[in-house]
Amino acid sequence: MPRTLFDKIWDAHVVERLEDGTCVLYIDRHLLHEVTSPQAFEGLRLAGRHVRRPDATIAVVDHNVPTSDRRLGIAEPESRLQIETLERNVVEFGVPYIPLLDARQGIVHVVGPEQGISLPGMTIVCGDSHTSTHGAMGALAFGIGTSEVEHVLATQTLLQKPAKNMLVRVDGMLPAGVTAKDVVLAIIGKIGTAGGTGYVIEYAGEAIRALDMAGRFTVCNMSIEAGARAGLIAPDDTTFAYIEGRPFAPQGADFAQAVDYWRTLPSDAGATYDRTVVLDAAAIAPMVTWGTSPETVVPISGVVPNPDDEADAAKRAQMQRMLTYMGLAPGQRLADVPIDVVFIGSCTNSRIEDLRAVAGVVRGRHVADGVRALVVPGSGLVKQQAEAEGLDRVLLEAGFEWREPGCSMCLGMNPDQLTTGQRCASTSNRNFEGRQGPGGRTHLVSPAMAAAAAITGRLTDIREFA
């Protein structure tokens, strides 16, 4: 029977199937960070258990690290305690660790692929919902809670039921100015924030195949914003070229053998999906969110919708609440909305390709008066690469802050936060109330759109930006 990419990876990892269909699923790679792991290690310690496979586990700090100079230590006591706790735990349990001052440190979902830790055909988990990012390698990768982190540490398995298969096909080629971020926002707008619940989404079609790895990571990253725990893209020559030579990837003859295996992974002709969604790439425009859910998204040329047009009373009330929170009025043109802050970063858009796109837009220009613009590279190696290409000079001369790697203003756990009422054009993944700081207002956009907004001081259609 023809199988999907998801079916193949799933089948290859079932250790045992229980009576009710729940499977003991083997986990190939377990990524840890400081926020969702302390209680898991504490659980192991209390039960006298050890880490079953330290050689399949790696830890990095990212969520609450400051993005200013870290050589002087971490000022915030609670953040420092979480980081020090992780450092004690990795020593006690013998887990490989990339320290804060290591050049490889960065956002776990940037570091994993960059180091060759995440590979096609693997099962990959992390106590973070954006683990879906690694699906761009053709791996089954999903976020788990801390109890499950403890379960994987102790057993290298998880108890799971298979997800349903969804195919999202993006046919044709993207118009100029339209990026992977716009594609995934358009998909979320189409299927809704719970549209993928219970599914693993496989992204396919000409527009997806044409994306570089950075774009593929962006698309898979936001699968969870459509409710899907995992997103997948079939591995191909783009994937293999990206992997070759990375530190933890198989080398030489091993690499060739691995590629032979990876080529068997793509979905078979005739494989069936529980749901198929098709988008026309040519019809996708640069997108921007107007509300406090990623599904509240419109083309930048659009206007804020009117709650009165919504028939369902509960949805109408929710839209009204969003507009009040966001300080927007029905019918308002998105492209006229002034912004206070621009955030370029997060596991969605902080790779070298994203920073090149930003530098390309702002080169020779300057950030608008009164706008604060931050660039937070996804990893120390991304930062080094950008500096080698002179992108840091371009950004600094344009008035951007050039910061150290971490999750930063994506989730407001470190000092990089919005204050009440501040409006931000952000390349991150969530526009929830208070996500980037209490009372902060988030508009999700692509890196190029965020860069243009920094220059004009308002949400801007990148296609009209010259």
Binding site: S129, E150, T155, A194
Partner: protein, 207 residues
């Protein structure tokens, strides 16, 4: 983990869809290395104003519902991040059961690990339960996990579905890790077969 068998309690209506985990517990409260103590920050922005004072219009700040152990909400409850701090905060406040038309996958899983029962019921049933819950103190709802029924204050019995395995773990309050460790030999065999099949698979080191 505390077993979940039956629960009779006040239910708080929260008629919102897409209640995300940032709303349940904002990111700035995740800097803890413990599971407990998060109840005070549950629904922080809905519950407190900018000065930190309670908002009187929020359901959990109202007299009967301060003692609620059941929460009733709309679609896609618990969407967003994987933070288990969300069920920890609910549990620390006293919530043992959440009823909604559907839940985000990771949150749904996380509930079971903490002795919280998430129950999926159709939207119209949730709305009817919310209407009854609005009667406050006199409107206690009973959850019987063994029989898989919700008993409403007016005596109606509503059946709900749940995986047999998850139901078993919850009823017994079992340590899932201990259960899986008892399958250790199956995991050993899997690993040996995999190493033979994919001999090129690299090991991770501190580098």
């Amino acid at each position: 983990m505390e077993p979940f068998t039956t629960l009779t309690a006040i239910a708080a209506p929260l008629p919102l869809a897409n209640v995300d985990t940032d709303k349940i517990i904002p990111g700035r409260f995740l800097k803890t290395i413990q599971r407990t103590g998060l109840g005070v920050h549950l629904f922080d922005t809905l519950r407190y104003d900018a000065t930190g004072a309670e908002r009187s219009d929020f359901v959990l700040n109202q007299a009967p519902y301060r003692a609620a152990k059941i929460l009733i909400a709309h679609e896609n409850f618990g969407c967003g991040s994987s933070r288990e701090h969300a069920p920890w905060a609910l549990l620390d406040f006293g919530i043992r059961c959440v009823i909604a038309p559907d839940f985000a996958d990771i949150f749904y899983n996380n509930c079971f690990k903490n002795g919280i029962l998430p129950i999926r019921l159709p939207r119209d049933v949730c709305d009817a339960l919310m209407a009854e819950a609005a009667m406050g103190e006199n409107a206690r709802i009973t959850i019987d996990l063994h029989a898989q029924v919700v008993k409403t204050p007016t005596g109606q019995e509503i059946k709900f579905e749940i995986d047999a395995h998850r139901r078993h773990l919850l009823l017994e309050g079992l340590d899932e890790i201990g259960q899986t460790l008892s399958r250790g030999s199956a995991i050993d065999m899997y690993e040996a077969a995999r190493d033979a099949r994919l001999p090129w698979l690299p090991a991770l080191t501190a580098g």
